[in-house]
């Protein structure tokens, strides 16, 4: 092949590569773009969802975070997705892997995720893992939250019951009940909506009316 022919082939390959790249990445700085594209390729080859990596980068760009910060965060996100995939095992749904990565990020251990998978091998774990991450985010100690989720999984609880636990715990916390106490008590079978007696109950905080809810 002539030198000109080789050049044409190389150009065509480069053009194809650029064209195949996610157009959303154009919102990122060139250096971040290259890093994210490499992570996306790795994620695809490993069979883990790449969308959370792109999402995190786009979030960083939207919030005008420095490039180094965005790169660090997306690398961290990628590592959590890999660990989540490892903890869940093969055949995990993308939504499960993302929720497990969120739980790991919040402070749950990989062993807890594997334990959940063992106890519910054929049932999606998206909601239990999401509730686990949310409970930890609300201030429930990781061990307490993990025990609560595993206890419900052993019951076995439905997704609605996991969501109910989260709603009750959030409601109790808003009333001043310590996060660890409400989680432990609610998991032991306090009826949904029941009030947990506590000596010092804070007044209802002033909260906006903002909400997200399923629309029938």
């Amino acid at each position: 092949m002539t030198r000109f022919g080789q050049a044409v082939v190389v150009l065509a390959l480069v053009a194809g590569r650029v064209d195949a790249q996610d157009s959303r990445l154009s919102r990122l700085d060139r250096r971040v773009q290259t890093e994210v594209a490499a992570l996306v390729d790795s994620a695809r080859s490993m069979g883990i969802p790449s969308e959370p990596v792109v999402d995190k980068a786009l979030e960083g760009a939207a919030k005008r975070a420095p490039n180094d910060r965005i790169i660090n965060v997306v690398r961290s996100r990628f590592r959590e997705l890999v660990a989540a995939r490892g903890a869940l095992g093969s055949g995990a749904l993308d939504a499960e892997i993302i929720a497990a990565a969120d739980a790991l990020h919040a402070g749950a251990s990989a062993q807890v995720i594997t334990s959940l998978r063992t106890r519910r091998p054929n049932v999606p774990l998206t909601i239990p893992l999401a509730v686990l991450a949310d409970l930890i985010a609300r201030g429930v100690p990781a061990d307490t939250a993990s025990s609560a989720i595993i206890a419900l999984a052993l019951k076995p609880a439905t997704d609605a019951e996991f969501a109910e636990l989260r709603a009750d715990v959030e409601s109790d916390i808003a009333k001043g009940v310590p996060p660890a106490i409400t989680t432990a008590v609610r998991t032991r079978g306090v009826p949904p909506g029941a009030r947990i007696p506590i000596a010092t109950e804070a007044s209802t905080p002033g909260v906006g009316v903002t909400s997200a809810s399923p629309k029938p």
Binding site: A95, D102, I127, A137, R166, V209
Partner: protein, 193 residues
């Protein structure tokens, strides 16, 4: 007065007011149309006989026999229609009714009576402020949007007037603060579990 009578009356009034020039071949076209319709009305007697409803009396035993016969024909047709797929051939793919299966419509509500525009950004819209603007639904500053979401856990936040990022006060927040501004979290469950 019947609706068609009103139409006719309006046409008649118009015709009374102004002279209407009729095309020379108008009569011919009308009569052609009339002849065609009369041919359709005088359709073959066989069709009329077949389409006329009748009462048929059948004994229970005969009804069962007919039902069994129909079931047998259907089963035979299904068996004849089976095709052996060669090893290695691509498996048939079920096409979902919606572009993304199992989505749920999630309504987000935000209250701010001084905002001139509110948008929601998150994992579900590429954090693009222009994709999901909220609609103001009352003069008391209630803004809302409904977004279809597949099962999963999503981070999001509201953007007020394009400058102020406000997490949803009614939703859990993320523990981490990757980029200096906290997010809210929404989890969408699978309706089947």
């Amino acid at each position: 007065m019947h609706e068609s009578d009103e139409v006719i009356e309006r046409v008649a009034m118009t015709l009374r007011r102004e002279a209407v020039a009729v095309s020379p071949d108008f009569d011919a076209r009308v009569m052609q149309q009339v002849r065609e319709e009369s041919r359709q009305v005088a359709a073959p007697g066989v069709w009329r006989w077949m389409t006329r409803s009748r009462t048929v009396r059948v004994s229970p035993l005969a009804g069962l026999a007919v039902a069994a016969g129909v079931a047998g024909v259907v089963a035979l047709a299904a068996r004849e229609g089976t095709v052996d797929v060669p090893a290695g051939a691509p498996a048939p793919v079920a096409i979902p009714a919606a572009s993304v299966p199992n989505q749920q419509m999630m309504q987000f509500v935000f209250v701010n009576d001084s905002a001139s525009k509110v948008a929601i950004v998150g994992d579900f819209n590429d954090w693009d402020e222009g994709v999901s603007p909220l609609r103001r639904v009352s003069d008391k500053g209630v803004w809302t949007i409904t977004i279809p979401l597949a099962p999963g856990r999503y981070q999001y936040t509201f953007v007020v007037d394009g400058t102020t990022w406000v997490p949803d006060p009614g939703a859990p927040r993320t523990l981490e603060d990757d980029f200096g501004r906290p997010n809210s979290v929404i989890t969408v469950g699978d309706a089947t579990t």
